[in-house]
Symmetry: C2
Subunit: 136 residues, 2 copies
């Protein structure tokens, strides 16, 4: 997902173009890592000392709802990253050292679907953690 696409979505849904949103999207466009609301606050505080947590959380939640960002929980904290542009379903390897992710194009659900009849599957989580080639 690039910034232009994100603004297309926001505009279509009637959200306004604010400098805070611009900066948040800018931060996400410059990294492939999962980052925390606090990470974002730290960066934004440099330019806007009176930055509010509320603004960050509110926008992150909006972005997730609109499919602009992806969200996951790592060690009890919310982490966010740009939603992958690839349209095919996939999962992530997440490096616990540097936070970088790698797409995994294997989804175990295909195997699974027929093995638990009577169970209504709504969603699933498949994440692999460890160290990427750069981190060991």
């Amino acid at each position: 997902m690039n910034i232009n696409r994100a603004w297309e979505i926001l505009k279509k849904e009637g959200f306004k173009k604010t400098d805070k949103r611009e900066q948040i999207l800018d931060i996400f466009s410059q990294t492939t890592k999962y980052i925390t609301p606090r990470d974002i606050l730290d960066v934004m505080m440099a330019e806007h000392p009176g930055m509010s947590y509320d603004t960050i959380y509110r926008n992150l939640n909006t972005f997730v709802e609109l499919g602009i960002l992806e969200e996951t929980e790592l060690t009890g904290e919310k982490h966010f990253r740009m939603h992958c542009e690839t349209d095919h379903h996939h999962h992530h390897f997440i490096c616990t050292s540097c936070g970088n992710i790698k797409e995994i194009n294997i989804c175990p659900m295909e195997l699974l679907h027929n093995s638990i009849p009577g169970y209504q599957i709504e969603n699933h989580k498949f994440e692999i953690y460890g160290n990427c080639p750069q981190c060991h």
Copy 2:
């Protein structure tokens, strides 16, 4: 995991037998669901009105470290259940209505191991959410 086995482990590791631990283990032995620290507090408050949150969290963490309980994060909250007795590696279907779990004996990691060379896999999470046959 049954209560006797849990006490074996606790004794072996030098932990004392207290009525609070007994009651916590008792609660877990009576359900197959993932439950929260608050769930436990509510039950225990009935018998011990001066029950402390600290006692629950401390013991839950101890139990997880000793392999007596399993832990997962559901919607931003910690949930616990008895550690499965089956010695083979497996995953869980978790019913988002009643909290019951079903063991899934398919692990996608076998497929995956060779597909991301250079990546050092430390652990993984594979959970399926939805409604069990009783809940739809």
